[in-house]
Amino acid sequence: MPVIAISRPETVYGGVSGGNRKLKRANGGDEEDVDGVDELEYEDADSGSDAEMRDLDDDDGDANDNDKRSGFGSSTKGSSLVTPGELITEDTMWMRGHGTFSQDEKTFSSVAGTITRVNKLLSVTPLRGRYQPVIGDHVIGRITEVGNKRWKVDIGGNQDAALLLGSVNLPGGVLRRKSESDELQMRQFLKEGDLLNAEVQALFSDGGASLHTRSLRYGKLRNGMLVQVPSSLIIRLRTQLYRLPGGVDMILGINGYIWLSKSSKVAADVSITRLEETSGLEIYSDTNEEINTSTRENIARYANCIRALAFKEVGVNETRLIAAYEASLAYASAGDLIEDEVKAILAAEALAADRSDE
């Protein structure tokens, strides 16, 4: 195994890796750009491969799979990729959603992305953007601030979500009223840095989200580690909780935060009476259970498999992840999985398994 794998850059604009965008957490998007007068020049020098040039000429072709997906019809050009300021339609029948704006009754795009149409709602999904919360989403977040009767939670969106004191289970049962003493000891339940899994309960008018953890499925996370991928790689499904081979549980947060942990003995659904019993202070405990070596190794292996899928921008789901994991077992040392070639192989295996599954 090489000590270090070095590749030469393909493009100036690299892919999105989970950590990349977490640079400065202003309460908004953050931009990072290398500005050089000769930027375009060396990009061409590096990446002007034939394949890409063809891509460029393909603007008006309909070869893209995405055209079918968005299904946007005759009123636009063939390509579903639009850029800021581009006229999408002059037809007034459309309702304008995210990523669009109107001028003189015409609809324009405000971001670079693909057109999506739901009934009469027309919106443009940016190629890259932060997680946009939707009510009912199962997300994983990290406490950034303990405030007045609320916690602020980073969920990878444009702004931190709020978790109200009234939206969590407190020791002594779900249904009791929150008292002033609860307010004073909020940090004992959840403090800065703590990870939790929660559901988006409501959205504020400015796009911010309000979370709740009032179910035993939600709450503080222990016994494992977090892996972050772009939220666009996670698909909303009935459940986001999975039990994987090798004694590992996974919570697939819709916001791209993925929690891998030791399989818990307790089944996910607990009767309401059990719930009373289990909601003691221990649900806010910071202490991990005993975790054996093989579980820890499997967790690290799964983490690398998830990163491999993200590297190739392959959506993360259970089938694909298990396929990638099984393919990864060919590499005795899971440390091999961090290399680009291996990542590509795993991602390809995962996709192949998913196709044959359908």
Binding site: V3, I6, G19, R21, D194, N223, M225, R296, A303, G335
Partner: protein
């Protein structure tokens, strides 16, 4: 970046285990993959850019200037800027001084910069850390290494002996005649050919200590649970000065034992040559690519 107590204790337990389990399953001696390119700046004598797989990125430009040897004691000036941090913050100045003193202490580099009895080149190594998730020392070191490899100095055409008549050095105006600052490092296989005058830039490798274990190229999370950081430099095929502990933002700083130190030595001995070989390969490839452009 703040982690939860449960995450940190999970991580610490895993790293303390024997053998340790790193969060990305890497070996103690294994670095994360990087993306590297040299010679990216048209206005510099040498330059490089390295991107780490966690989104860290560093750009180094090397510029040379002719100065009277008597006017300066230090022929190498290193200046580190870290995006998002204030000028002269402690991290940037620590890095600047580490590299500046390491490079200045190299006698053969000083020898190479000497032009005439009165004049020398002075190297200005400007480091820009565009983003960093983990401690930037290792990233900066690899980038400086690659930038110095790609550094070329113009060919002197005037006499090297100006002790009698003081004259300003004159250089060949064809850039193709420029001389590389470093020798192409010999690879492991033909290290027997190495001569004494051979000089390659030093590499400084950062490691994190957790319990009785030590890891090269720690991630941000690993740094948090480390009891201390340790860096060792590798130059011309062997371990060399400096060797130092470094605060890498650990939450629970502690000293290190001699077993850990000897593990650190063996890690550097295992990795040093391979890292320098890999970076040399990048440089050679870039050189070939740029010469085939014309």
């Amino acid at each position: 970046m703040k982690y939860s107590p449960a995450e940190l204790s999970y991580l610490k337990e895993s790293l303390k285990a024997s053998p340790p389990i790193r969060p990305d399953a890497r070996l103690e001696t294994q670095l994360r993959p990087i993306e590297a390119i040299s010679n990216i700046l048209p206005t510099a004598n040498g330059s490089a850019r390295i991107r780490a797989s966690d989104g860290g990125e560093c750009i180094v430009g090397v510029k040379a200037k002719v100065v009277p040897t008597s006017s300066t004691s230090e022929l190498i000036n290193v200046d580190v800027e870290i995006s998002g941090l204030k000028e002269n913050n402690s991290l940037a100045s620590t890095l600047s001084s580490i590299f500046q003193s390491t490079l200045n202490s190299s006698q053969s580099l000083r020898q190479r910069l000497k032009l005439t009895s009165r004049f020398s080149f002075k190297l200005f190594i400007d480091v820009l850390v565009l983003s960093n998730q983990s401690h930037p020392l290792g990233l900066v070191s690899l980038t400086i290494y690659l930038a110095l490899l790609s550094t070329k100095l113009p060919l002197l055409t005037s006499s090297t002996d100006d002790s009698k008549a003081e004259e300003v050095p004159v250089f060949h105006d064809d850039w193709d005649q420029a001389r590389p600052l470093c020798d192409i490092p010999v690879t492991q296989s033909d290290s027997s050919k190495k001569s004494d005058s051979h000089w390659t830039p030093p590499l400084i490798l950062l490691m994190a200590v957790v319990g009785e274990n030590i890891f090269i190229d720690p991630t941000n999370a690993e740094e948090q649970v480390a009891s201390t950081g340790l860096f060792i430099s590798w130059s011309n095929g062997s371990i060399s000065a400096p060797l130092r502990t470094l605060d890498i933002g650990s939450t629970d700083p502690q000293g290190i034992s001699s077993t850990v130190l000897s593990k650190a030595y063996s890690i550097v001995e295992q990795c040093g040559q391979e890292i320098s070989d890999s970076l040399t390969a990048v440089y050679v490839q870039d050189e070939d690519a740029s010469s085939s452009d014309f």
